[in-house]
């Protein structure tokens, strides 16, 4: 399962709560039927956090064996090293690894736990495209039966390629939850805004090509999968429609609009790098 969202969407916070590193402000969280802290203590969870350089003064195999020793049902250390192609580096010091090797070592550290739930917080951040692909194919090969992987990412293509289920987070809320294919379809969404008094939102939402519609005063915001068709119809049927605005919004932008956070505030919070990615996605 992928947890997708822009920086500041609440991905890490959510994962920290699942891992018992933080308590929720409200509500309760259960992991494997237990409170997070108990699930951690029982060895149900293996986690790869965002920050976490491998500790020094150990060899690769020693660090993996040390992690294995902490869990009640670990997998054989050598098997995991082999699957992640770390067997040749087993005797190398953890301080003398390349970025990609260190990341595979961190993956080995959580795969060796044999835990039911593996949590990875932005596991490939800072890696180039090729290393990212290498990382995921290694994880997929080494993944044991019955394990569930939850990972956070802000790359749509990474979520799409590696997850069966994608949960989209924005502003600390779940704005979409579904199969990767469905989320991808929604990524093609455009956002239409116009002033349109006295029209039922429910009627608009039922139109062909509309994903969702929402009203704020006289302003209607529509997320459309087929914007051309929707606009043609709106202008033909509603002569008082005005201030029409169509935006090629990316995934997050469209959902931010629909969750009432406004496109502008969503747009400002993002860096230039993000904007580039979004356009490519759209």
């Amino acid at each position: 399962m992928a947890l997708l969202g822009p920086n500041g969407a609440g991905k890490s916070t959510l994962l920290d709560i699942v891992l018992g590193l933080q308590g929720p402000d409200r509500g309760a969280v259960q992991v494997c039927g237990l409170a997070p802290v108990q699930a951690v203590a029982a060895g149900h969870i293996g986690a790869m956090l965002q920050q976490g350089a491998p500790i020094g003064f150990l060899r690769v195999r020693e660090l993996v064996a040390m992690m294995a020793a902490l869990y009640p049902r670990p997998r054989p250390v050598d098997e995991v090293l082999e699957l992640l192609e770390l067997d040749d580096l087993a005797r190398r010091s953890t301080e003398r690894l390349s970025g990609g090797q260190a990341q595979r070592l961190r993956a080995a550290c959580i795969l060796v736990t044999g835990a039911d739930l593996l949590v990875l917080d932005e596991p490939t951040v800072g890696l180039d495209v090729e290393s990212r692909r290498g990382f995921w194919s290694a994880v997929r090969v080494a993944l044991h039966e019955g394990a569930t992987v939850v990972f956070a990412t802000h790359y749509l293509d990474e979520a799409d390629a590696n997850a069966d289920r994608v949960v989209l987070l924005a502003g600390g809320r779940v704005v979409a939850d579904g199969p990767a294919t469905e989320i991808r379809a929604r990524a093609a969404t455009r956002t239409i805004r116009l002033t349109l008094p006295r029209v039922e939102v429910a009627g608009l939402a039922a139109l062909d090509g509309v994903v969702a519609a929402e009203r704020h005063g006289d302003t209607v915001t529509i997320a459309a999968s087929d914007a051309d068709r929707v606009v043609r119809r709106l202008l033909a049927e509603h002569l008082d429609a005005r201030d029409l605005e169509v935006r090629v919004g990316g995934l997050e932008e469209a959902f931010l609009a629909l969750t009432g956070e406004g496109l502008e505030s969503g747009g400002e919070a993002e860096g230039p790098g993000r904007a580039r990615r979004m356009r490519k996605v759209a």
Partner: protein, 241 residues
């Protein structure tokens, strides 16, 4: 207790040679420079070499157990402490491993200093050795506790200066490099410090005794107070905010 985890912790400690520079190298150097030329004198009522050997042992061992807890600060910075909190490892085992690592370093430096001491004319009965080493190990407890508190509070930048400064203040006032004062307020300050009683473990051991009640009280009180401090530091650091 998790044996494998502890074994790797100790392995990491032993491999980290930098840790031994201050816990072993410096005491050894000073012993050679100061105690050897004066080994036929007396100091603080016992042979100079004996006093100085015990002084250097307590200095090196204090440095070692403080550094053991101080490693927590390094692992906090690396993100390793957070990583461990997502594993079934109990926090008490983690802390115990740091104390154990500190004690292993302390024992290593004590053994080497004892060897050099014996080679340079320190003569103690088996009973005196046992009492001296035993009292030293007990006297280190407050410093091991302080190390844990430091490990949870300090940033990496301030770790070295704070550990070095703390050790130096305790060492000087405790009479590690010779008695500071035999009477007066400075002597009274010394009497209230655990480092004073660490150094005194040599004198009382030679005399065939253990610490007087005051010594046990001081070490016990410091341990209790620092344990409160350390657990507050631990809670603040790992608060599930």
């Amino acid at each position: 207790m998790n044996g494998t985890y502890l074994r790797f912790e100790l392995l990491r400690t032993v491999r980290n040679r930098r840790l031994f520079v201050f816990s072993l190298g410096m005491p050894l150097l000073l012993y050679g420079l100061i105690a050897l030329p004066n080994r036929h004198e007396t100091l603080g009522g016992i042979p100079f070499a004996t006093y100085y050997m015990v002084g250097m042992m307590s200095w090196g061992a204090t440095t070692a157990v403080l550094a053991g807890g101080g490693r927590i600060a390094v692992e906090r910075t690396l993100g390793w402490s957070r990583q461990l909190r997502t594993t079934p490892l109990r926090p008490s085992v983690y802390l115990a491993s740091k104390v154990a690592a500190g004690y292993v370093m302390a024992l290593a430096s004590m053994v080497v200093l004892a060897g050099v001491g014996v080679a340079s004319g320190v003569e103690l009965s088996a009973g005196a050795w046992t009492r001296m080493v035993g009292l030293t190990l007990v006297g280190l407890v407050p410093f091991a506790t302080l190390g844990i508190a430091f490990g949870h509070v300090l940033h990496l930048d301030s770790l070295g200066p704070v550990l070095g400064g703390t050790t130096a203040v305790f060492a000087i006032l405790g009479g590690v490099w010779g008695p500071v004062a035999d009477s007066g307020w400075l002597h009274q300050v010394g009497l209230a410090l655990p480092s004073y009683w660490l150094v005194q473990s040599g004198r009382v051991a030679v005399a065939g005794q253990l610490w007087p009640a005051r010594g046990w009280l001081v070490v016990g009180a410091w341990t209790a107070a620092l344990a409160v401090l350390a657990s507050a530091a631990y809670r603040r650091d790992t608060k599930r905010a």
